[in-house]
């Protein structure tokens, strides 16, 4: 009994420490503007003023829509491409298959920082600076996602595909009516993971945009960070807006997040 109480105490203490920054972020966002550092834990007269100002006066409503657009379309295409590619690596015999797959996996060893400079130069050369496609297209080949897809699809019996082909289904039809429906869990997982990645892909979005109308929430927040050093209540409201969608997605689909993120490490 004592042991159980002790365990609960430890777990609760750990949860309090781990979640404290987010608690503090929310509490501060509800304090009166400019009153970020009042020592009280719960604001004595909470206000939505910070949210109103950040959303309308500081353009976060627009940044939010930009983030939604960029993350959604990037997640959609990245997932589609990885699903198509995963299908052929899992189910087809073709010339050069293992070589191509090997090269793709080799790229996983390259640190992300490596790509920043040359990718920027390419985007610049293509004349894509300050466009949505610059934020989206470079990350549509998700090798890790492809790997997850392939692992999952290899467990789907090939007989199902053969049977459909005998019934006269074309390649695309087989993919769309058999492979995709049977892979929904992994497709959902990959969609969520790529959405999360693009929502948080701050460095790249900062690099390829320098006009305010294209800012995403994190970029807006970064600009805000240097411009309004003192206005912590506003910053915290902006931070809340930035993490809210991912926190909500995590709340409703945490199984997909946790499994997807740890699958590579556990089954690889």
């Amino acid at each position: 009994m004592l042991r159980r109480v002790l365990l609960y105490v430890c777990l609760t203490a750990a949860a309090v420490v781990v979640l404290f920054p987010f608690f503090w972020m929310v509490v501060t966002a509800f304090k009166q503007p400019g009153q970020a550092f009042t020592p009280e834990v719960f604001p004595s007269n909470p206000t939505l003023e910070n949210f109103r100002r950040v959303l309308s006066d500081y353009g976060f409503a627009k940044y939010f829509l930009n983030s939604v657009f960029v993350a959604t379309s990037a997640a959609l295409f990245a997932t589609l491409f990885a699903t198509m590619a995963g299908y052929v690596f899992a189910k087809k015999q073709f010339v050069g298959r293992d070589k191509v797959f090997g090269i793709l996996l080799l790229s996983l060893m390259i640190p992300g920082m490596m790509y920043v400079v040359p990718q920027f130069a390419i985007i610049n050369r293509l004349g894509w600076m300050n466009t949505y496609k610059a934020m989206i297209v470079p990350h549509l080949a998700n090798v890790f996602g492809l790997f997850l897809m392939r692992q999952y699809m290899m467990t789907i019996p090939s007989e199902l595909l053969e049977a459909a082909k005998i019934d006269g289904a074309g390649e695309w039809q087989v993919f769309r009516t058999i492979m995709v429906p049977l892979s929904i869990p992994i497709i959902a997982t990959l969609f969520l993971l790529t959405f999360q990645f693009h929502w948080n892909n701050f460095l790249w979005q900062l690099i390829v945009t320098n006009v305010e109308r294209l800012y995403t929430v994190p970029v807006g927040l970064a600009m805000f960070k240097s411009a309004h050093e003192e206005l912590y209540t506003l910053k915290m409201a902006g931070s809340c807006i930035s993490v809210l969608p991912i926190a909500a997605l995590f709340f409703f689909a945490q199984r997909y997040f946790i499994e997807g993120m740890t699958m590579g490490a556990l089954k690889g």
Partner: protein, 331 residues
């Protein structure tokens, strides 16, 4: 990641013998057809991969070997070939070697503390308790949230004079951080960045450890208990050795993560606070990832930044190889 790549390649190699392994004219035409279809399906993925992931690796080397003028955006035209000048400059750049040192320091702090916290949380959760799922979600959630936001929130918490943690320290008689805050105090800036990051990332390692621990046969513990082993002895000689693969994985991923560290430094310290080393101002959190960003984004020295990222790649590969040695030797 490196480990993951190697194994799966071996696996795909062994599954190569498929239904149509026997050669023949009919098979050949089938293979040709399958190959055409396959590449049609692969086309979008491969095009993006080629342009934005494969080509940049070589293009980066090209940039590293050229002088890229700071005022010109047309980086394809009129680049002056300077051979290894950028690399030579890098090897005499105090700021760069300092950044490598700070990166190693960062890794030396975050890897063991990350492992300790993850493993502790996993051990706590590995009990028959109610609400285990809720605790598990609470610990994991920060891992999916944005590092930039987490960093900004921590700068608020760490603020000098008025930050909540600074006040807590003060109330227990520790006034050392009052003037500059934890992030502004030389000796504590890096540990403070690491602390914020460990709390954010611990949930990931926790899940890995938890599933490894739950795979250990209860019979082992029962046998040890019968032999009179204390809980600590059981942990030392059963749990710890059996979760070793996860520990190695955490070391590799943590070290490579340190080489890529950027957002946390950007959000919290911008590489500072500065320390005077032999008459030069060097940042106490000036990690290599941040130096690459600074060189490229603030100073717009593309060639030099590219050379730097190549050295980063070299370090990453060395770490992967060393770790792989360890892995095959010890596991």
């Amino acid at each position: 990641m490196a480990r993951l790549g190697k194994r799966s390649r071996e696996r795909s190699g062994s599954s190569d013998v498929g239904p149509g392994a026997n050669p023949g004219p009919r098979h050949a035409s089938r293979l040709a057809r399958e190959t055409a279809t396959s590449y049609a399906f692969l086309a979008p993925f491969l095009v993006v991969f080629a342009v934005f992931l494969a080509f940049p690796v070589f293009y980066s080397l090209y940039l590293a070997l050229h002088q890229v003028p700071a005022d010109s955006f047309d980086i394809f035209g009129g680049l002056e070939f300077v051979a290894f000048k950028n690399f030579a400059k890098l090897f005499t750049d105090t700021k760069f070697w300092w950044s490598v040192l700070m990166t190693l320091y960062y890794a030396a702090l975050i890897v063991p503390s990350g492992i300790a916290v993850s493993l502790s949380l996993a051990l706590l959760l590995n009990n028959r308790l109610r609400f285990v799922a809720a605790y598990r979600s609470a610990f994991f959630m920060p891992y999916v949230l944005d590092m930039l936001v987490v960093g900004i929130v921590w700068t608020l918490i760490y603020s000098p004079h008025v930050g909540v943690l600074t006040r807590i320290f003060e109330s227990v008689g520790i006034g050392a951080f009052t003037e500059r805050g934890l992030l502004g105090t030389l000796a504590y800036a890096m540990p403070a960045v690491v602390f914020a990051n460990v709390l954010k990332g611990a949930g990931f390692g926790m899940i890995l450890y938890l599933s490894a621990i739950q795979n250990i046969s209860p019979a082992l513990y029962e046998a040890a208990e019968i032999d009179g082993a204390t809980p600590w002895q059981r942990f030392r000689s059963i749990t710890l050795p059996l979760v070793k693969p996860i520990t190695f994985f955490m070391v590799i991923v943590g070290t490579i993560g340190a080489l890529n560290a950027f957002a946390e430094v950007y959000a919290m310290t911008s590489g500072g606070p500065n320390v005077d080393v032999g008459g030069r101002a060097l940042g106490a959190t000036w990690v290599t990832g941040y130096y690459v960003f600074d060189t490229f984004y603030t100073q717009f020295r593309l060639g030099y930044a590219a050379a730097m990222s190549y050295v980063l790649l070299g370090l990453t590969l060395i770490i992967s190889l060393v770790n792989r040695r360890f892995l095959s030797a010890e596991v």
